[in-house]
Structure formats: C-alpha cells, structure tokens
C-alpha cells in the first residue's frame, strides 16, 4: 500500500503505507470502527481505495476488471466474523463452493474435501446445513472454505469474535499450521490474548490502526 486512503464520505483511513510479505503472519488491531474490516476489504478487492496505490500480487487493484478481481479472490481466502454461507447447501457443498465457481467441475484435482473436513474437525457435520452449526463450527467451516483453493493469503476478520477461548485457540492453531505451510495470514482482531497466544508459537507482527493510519506496533503486546 502506498499512501492509500479510504473515505465513506468522511475519511476513515489515510496515508496507509504497508507492505505485507509472502509467508508472514500479521495481526491488525484497533478499536471498533477504526477501519480494520475496510482495510481487509480493500486487500481482496471488495472496496477500492479512494486514493493511493494498492498492489496485490504485484498488480494495482484499481486497474483490475471485475473478472480479474474475481480471479484474485480465488488466491485470497477470506474468513468473516459472521461467516457467510449459502444456507440451502450443506457444509461440504459450502466448503467446495470456491472450486465449483472457479469452473473446476471436479474436486479430484484439488484439495481432498474429506481430508479438509477432517483437518478442521467437521467430518461428522459434512451434511449439516449452516444454520445447524455452532459458532466455532461455522468459523472452522469458513476457514476450510477459505483454504480449499490453496490460496497464498488468508484474511480473517475477527474470526474468533463469536466463539469461546478454547475454540479460538483451536482455530488459531489451524491458522498457525497454515502459516507454517507458507501461507500469508492477516487477522483483524482486538483480542490481545489471542495475539499473545499466537506470538508464543509463531513470529507474528502487529499492525495497529490509530488516527486513521496504520503503524507497526512495538513489543508491548
């Protein structure tokens, strides 16, 4: 990001100069309404910066067509706090959705769905509908969907916001494991315990949004 700003009429973020390298682990913190979600949405092309230059995979996101944005999202896994699913499809179908929309009509060439369900501990819930899942199960299903295309980057927006501490730890362990596989992880959260827990296992950096801009936080966390 070079001098990136975003405004909803009123300026929310300004002078963002951030570079996130491949394989790194970042936390994005800041008070509610500080612009964490907006920051992530700009990263996966859901929102366009109002000014500045934002390069994702070395391409200026403002110059991408809508189709190119769609292709970009296949390389970025996104986990939301509210975990949006298609409620009429079961968990397995929801997780497989990115593969299907990318016109790969078979799962055989991609990640084994059963293995993935097993990895996130949802094998027994494969046929369940999303409204039947608990908060933690929904988050793990969202994570499985985010990584099924084996993306290079995973963006998680308050992934532990609706789940208990034990489930949060379980989820963060999965993300750490992905980081060890070389994936770039960016997690927006205001949960300092989660950050401390993670930093015990992985070299994670913390970006703090304050006064409309992003700064690299010190070691006080």
């Amino acid at each position: 990001m070079k001098s990136v700003a975003y405004s909803y009429g009123e300026e929310l973020l300004s002078e963002l100069n951030v570079s996130i390298s491949q394989g790194s682990f970042y936390f994005l913190t800041g008070p509610s309404g500080s612009g964490k979600t907006t920051f992530l949405k700009m990263c996966y092309g859901s929102l366009n910066p109002t000014s500045g230059e934002l390069n994702v995979f070395s391409r200026d996101i403002s110059e991408l067509s809508r189709d190119e944005i769609a292709y970009l999202r296949r390389k970025i896994g996104v986990v939301h706090q509210d975990c949006q699913f298609l409620d009429h499809l079961n968990v397995a179908d929801n997780i497989a959705l990115p593969i299907m929309v990318s016109a790969q009509n078979s799962l055989s060439d991609s990640v084994n769905l059963k293995e993935l369900l097993n990895w996130v501990g949802l094998s027994h819930r494969a046929k369940a509908l999303p409204p039947e899942l608990s908060g933690g199960e929904r988050q793990r299903a969202a994570l499985a969907r985010a990584i099924i295309m084996s993306p290079d980057v995973i963006l998680a927006d308050e992934p532990t916001g609706n789940i208990d501490w034990e489930m949060s730890q379980r989820l963060i362990r999965l993300l750490i494991e992905l980081n060890h596989m070389g994936k770039t992880i960016v997690i927006a959260t205001h949960d300092l315990n989660l950050i401390r827990f993670t930093k015990a296992s992985v070299q994670a950096r913390v970006l703090r949004i304050s006064n409309k801009t992003v700064q690299l936080a010190g070691s006080d966390l």
Binding site: A70, D93, V101
Partner: protein, 297 residues
C-alpha cells in the same frame, strides 16, 4: 461464452447455488405457460384469418353472377339474350344458368324448404367463371346495358373486398398480439430477474466472496429462469393445442370459430414457442442480471 456453457452443461452446482424456492420461480413458470397459451391461440387466429382471406380472394375472384330481373313475360327472352351476350364475350371460360332447385336452395336459409318460387317475381341467375386472361368487365356491362337492360353483373367485389380487408385486419391483429405478448414476456423477465437478484443479495455476496465472476452468478440465475420459461411455455403451448383440437370443427354448423385450427407446418409453432421463450428468457435474464450485478458491484 461462460454463461451459455454453464446453462447448457449439467453443472450441479450452477443449478444449486441459487435456492429453488421463491415466488419468482413459480411466477416464471405460470406466466410463461399463460403467455404461450395466448401466443398459440393468436397464431391460430392469424392463420385462420389468412386462410379465410385467401379463400375469399381465390375462390370468388374469378367468378361473377349475372342477375336478370324482368317482368315474367320478358324474363325468358331477356335471359336468352344475356346468355347470348355471354357466349360472345372473350375471357369467359364458362357460364351456367342456375336451375330452379339451386335458386330454391339459395333461399332456403331465409324462407325455409320447398318455397314455391314460381309464384314469386324471382330473377334468373347466371353463374360466370372467367378464364386466366379475364374478361372486360366495363365492356360487358356496356353491352348488357344496351342489349339486356334488365341484367346486372355482380362480380362480388362490393362485398368481397371488405371481407378480405377484415380478414387481413384480424391476421395483422393476431401477429400484433403475438408481438405484444413477447414484449410482455421480456418485461416480465426483467422484473423477475431484478426481484430474484434483490432477494438473493446474500447469495451474490457469498459467491463473489469465493471468487465467482458475474458471468457465473448470472448463469446460475439465468439457467433457472430459462428452463422454467421453457417448460412453462411448453405446457402452455400443449394446453392451447389441446383446446384448439377440442374446438368445434368447420363441419359443425353451430361452430362460431370456424377454421380456428393449425394445419400442416403451422403445428411447428408448438415447438417454436417454447424454444423462442427459452432463447428470449435466456437473453433477457442474462443481459438484465449482468447489468444489475454491475450496479451491485
């Protein structure tokens, strides 16, 4: 073309990503059925009117009637004179003096059977058929005026032309109705697509989040509408054909809608209607959904 590929290939997911419930699905099906029913009927009316116009035009165009009205004492001599004039007129292929029984049959619908026409001051009628070159109507009228003043040549133009005009008006109105119905179908599809996309905003958000292109999302919706419209219109066309089949036939004198039917190649409309619904629905839904998705971006 991704949209066309997705709509024709049996991709289970494209079919599933949009929930099947919802009033738009039923609305598309039943409106298509109703519209197809009306189109087949309009087609049948147009073809019937066309046949009627041709029938009146062809069968009566080359014929005429010569009416000889004279006092009873002079009737036979005047008729003889008229027949003599006709026999010397170029362009007439044949002529024939109608027998009393035939004239009686002509009057039967009004006066009933066995009317004693001998006691009535009835004119004599001569049926005339012209050859391919035709005869000089004005010249014949002048000769008749000079030689048989009581004879009147009626070439049917006076009543035939308004009937043919009326038949062609019905034919035109039939096709106009078909055009309007197709327009309504297009308008309906725009509204239905808009309603479906609005009520499935969450589905669109999720699909976009996982990397679906607008073409893929549009195809998911378009596929549903196109097939609903196809099956609905096929049902409507089939019901219309059954209804046409059950209508009274021409032979039945009580039939009001004489000739309202499809013949020969006209039956191909039963295939043309569902196919055109499919194509129209596909194109309309695709164009409007891509436009709406663009505005939602």
């Amino acid at each position: 073309m991704v949209g066309m590929k997705n709509i024709l290939l049996p991709d289970r997911y494209v079919n599933q990503v949009v929930p099947t419930n919802g009033f738009t699905t039923l609305l598309t099906f039943f409106t298509s059925a109703s519209m197809a029913f009306l189109i087949v009927f309009s087609v049948a009316i147009s073809f019937a009117a066309d046949r009627l116009a041709h029938s009146w035009s062809d069968s009566l165009a080359n014929s005429a009637t010569l009416r000889v009205s004279a006092p009873k004492a002079d009737l036979e001599s005047q008729t003889e004179a008229a027949l003599n004039v006709l026999s010397n007129t170029k362009g007439i292929a044949s002529f024939r003096l109608l027998k009393e029984e035939e004239q009686q049959a002509l009057l039967e619908p009004w006066f009933g059977p066995k009317v004693p026409i001998n006691n009535l001051p009835m004119p004599r009628l001569i049926s005339i058929e012209e050859d391919e070159n035709g005869y000089d109507r004005a010249g014949l009228r002048l000769r008749l005026a000079a030689e048989v003043p009581s004879a009147v040549l009626d070439d049917h133009t006076r009543w035939r032309q308004p009937l043919i005009k009326a038949a062609y008006r019905i034919w035109f109105l039939g096709w106009l109705s078909i055009g309007l119905i197709f327009f309504i179908v297009i308008a309906m599809m725009v509204l239905v697509t808009r309603a479906a996309l609005s009520s499935n905003r969450k589905v669109i958000e999720v699909l976009r989040l996982v990397g679906a292109t607008d073409q893929y999302i549009a195809a998911a919706f378009v596929r549903k509408f196109a097939f609903r419209a196809f099956f609905g219109s096929a049902l409507g066309a089939m019901l219309a054909s059954i209804t046409l089949f059950l209508l009274p036939s021409e032979v039945d004198q009580t039939a009001v809608l004489l000739g309202l039917r499809l013949e020969g190649l006209e039956w191909s409309w039963l295939i043309v209607v569902p196919l055109s619904f499919f194509v129209m629905t596909f194109l309309t839904a695709r164009i409007s959904s891509l436009s709406i998705l663009k505005s939602l971006a």
